[in-house]
């Protein structure tokens, strides 16, 4: 409970920080809506010339796009502000204060700052998923929804693992400020189903930098496509990635604390 209070206190500070910028609330909602409108416009352009893309219909890709924005919203609301702050603090040498706070460093480091306006991406992403499903006239059962939720959770866990691993690199490469941009670079490919990409890129996006499990797999489960093998693999890969990332973080932290003393 104390922890919840700590997180709330950080969150409140973040909220105060953000409201200093007048018009940012409206601006961000408009910006998210516009971003999604552009993306849907892009889909419309592509599907004006074809009925299926890599075996996916427009409605199915729409659901995938919703998943993309939902995950993207989560990242830009909590993950990227918090973890980029870590990068910044390590570079400026103020990260030590973080370690002195009587709370688990990893949890605090990952949640202490959020940019509340980006919640609009999450909401709009969910709305796009809903619209896509409605247009598919998909019959979503409770079990189906549960599987989707599980796949989403696995996807978000993988995102977190990747972010954490990239952030941890800062303990060694202090000068690389925008290291987390690497995530966005690959994540950008997640706007389309992984089947679209040529063989080598598909393999890369499935096994090395598993963007496939972040957008393609959750969208598959709920749009009635049949990816049983991958579906079972998702939680396993997520758990493995999470475990590896946390261990890597601890290792990096140890390295940092022993080097800076």
């Amino acid at each position: 409970m104390r922890l919840a209070r700590v997180i709330w206190a950080f969150g409140r500070a973040a909220l105060l920080d953000e409201t200093a910028y007048r018009g940012e609330l409206l601006g961000n909602v408009i910006r998210s809506a516009l971003g999604i409108a552009m993306a849907i416009g892009g889909l419309a352009v592509v599907f004006a010339h074809t009925r299926v893309l890599g075996g996916w219909t427009m409605e199915q890709v729409l659901v995938l796009l919703g998943v993309y924005y939902l995950v993207n919203g989560l990242v830009s609301t909590v993950l990227s502000p918090s973890l980029n702050k870590v990068v910044q603090e390590v570079r400026e040498g103020t990260f030590d204060y973080m370690l002195l706070k009587p709370a688990p460093s990893l949890l605090l480091a990952s949640t202490r700052r959020f940019v509340v306006w980006h919640v609009s991406d999450v909401v709009l992403g969910a709305a796009v998923i809903w619209v896509g499903l409605a247009r598919l006239e998909a019959n979503v059962t409770l079990a189906g929804a549960a599987v989707f939720a599980a796949a989403m959770t696995a996807g978000v866990a993988i995102v977190y693992a990747i972010w954490l691993a990239l952030t941890t690199l800062v303990f060694w490469f202090v000068r690389v400020e925008n290291i987390t941009m690497i995530f966005n670079l690959f994540f950008e490919t997640g706007r389309y189903p992984v089947e679209v990409y040529p063989f080598w890129l598909r393999q890369l996006l499935t096994f090395v930098f598993p963007v496939a499990f972040i957008t393609t797999v959750p969208a598959q489960t709920i749009t009635g496509r049949e990816p049983l093998v991958v579906l079972w693999a998702a939680p396993l890969i997520a758990a493995a990635a999470l475990l590896a990332a946390v261990r890597f973080w601890r290792f990096g932290l140890r390295n940092y604390t022993s080097a800076s003393s």
Binding site: R12, L15, L16, T19, A20, R22, G23, E24, L25
Partner: protein, 327 residues
């Protein structure tokens, strides 16, 4: 010779947004912003003659920096006439910019990741300084400011004091005739402050440049300026010789006497306020108008070996000026 700087009825007002503390106030400010008029400079006039060094004094928010920004051309005044070397500063004509410099304590004009020498090259080209003049100026500045070895290191690796010296040099490469220095010694240690001070004095002596400087440190002002301009809340309180400030505003003087032998404290009664008595040295504070009388009595009643009458420290005088202005 006409004055280098002529300021007449300078007024600068700003409108700034206001915001209370706390969640509610900041949420409210999302919808409606309160504004407030700040009278940063509220009608000041003065002139500065060529070659003069003038200290510009005032508490935080008195309007010093705003005035310097108007004088250097960064701000457009609300009212008033300003003439610097025959130019209207905010036209920022090239001829004007080539003759002045504004150096602000923390303001970066240097490339952070490059050696200062690279930034010097940029200024050389931008100001169109020719090679021979540039070499001579850099040589002179290197000698006066002891820049040896500093110009080839990335600026971010320099200490605060070193950075300030390099910043000063960068601002002087084009040989300006009028220097506006805003807190040139802020945050520096005492030795570095002295060095910068000595440099400004020497630069003034050798080039005849006019200097208008603000500083928190009275030592800067005392060492450099014969004349001070004191402003508070945008208004001019005093303009004149530094020593005149104490004469006008200090209500008392400090008299220190060395006696031939220690005396009983009782014998000092009626000689004003005894600040300290240590062995044969006695310090007495007295109202200014009574100082001559007290001095006479001291000399008459005690075995005085040595006597000095002083004004109180400048800091105290200045504080007196501001206190007087605010009550």
């Amino acid at each position: 010779m006409p004055p280098d700087i002529r300021v007449h009825g300078l007024v600068k007002h700003y409108v700034v947004p206001e915001r209370g503390a706390g969640l509610r106030a900041s949420l409210r400010s999302v919808w409606r912003r309160r504004r407030r008029l700040v009278r940063a400079v509220d009608g000041i006039s003065f002139e500065v003659a060529p070659g003069e060094i003038v200290g510009f004094l005032g508490p935080n928010g008195a309007g010093k920096t705003t005035s310097l920004k108007v004088l250097s051309g960064l701000l457009h005044p609300t009212h008033g006439r300003v003439d610097v070397l025959g130019f209207t500063p905010w036209d920022r004509r090239a001829d004007f910019l080539a003759r002045i410099t504004l150096i602000m304590g923390q303001r970066q004009q240097l490339f952070w990741d490059l050696p200062a020498g690279d930034s010097f090259q940029v200024n050389k080209a931008v100001f169109g300084i020719d090679d021979a003049v540039f070499r001579r100026t850099v040589g002179l500045l290197t000698e006066l400011l002891e820049l040896d070895g500093l110009l080839t290191k990335p600026v971010r690796q320099l200490s605060l004091g070193e950075r300030m010296k390099v910043e000063l040099a960068a601002g002087l490469l084009h040989g300006p005739r009028v220097l506006f220095l805003d807190e040139p010694t802020i945050g520096l240690d005492v030795t570095m402050q002295q060095r910068i001070r000595a440099f400004v004095a020497r630069y003034n002596a050798e080039t005849g440049a006019t200097v208008l400087l603000t500083s928190h440190y009275m030592a800067d002002v005392k060492a450099l300026a014969q004349r001070v301009i004191v402003i508070d809340r945008g208004r001019l309180l005093y303009d004149g010789a530094l020593h005149g400030l104490a004469e006008r505003y200090a209500p008392h003087k400090t008299i220190t006497v060395h006696l031939e032998q220690p005396v009983d404290p009782a014998e000092l009664r009626g000689l004003g306020e005894i600040v300290s008595q240590e062995g044969a040295q006695v310090t007495v504070r007295t109202r200014k108008d009574e100082a001559p009388a007290v001095t006479g009595q001291l000399l008459a009643r005690l075995p005085v070996a040595d006597l000095s009458v002083e004004d109180p420290p400048l800091e105290e005088v200045i504080e007196q000026v501001f206190r007087g202005n605010r009550t």
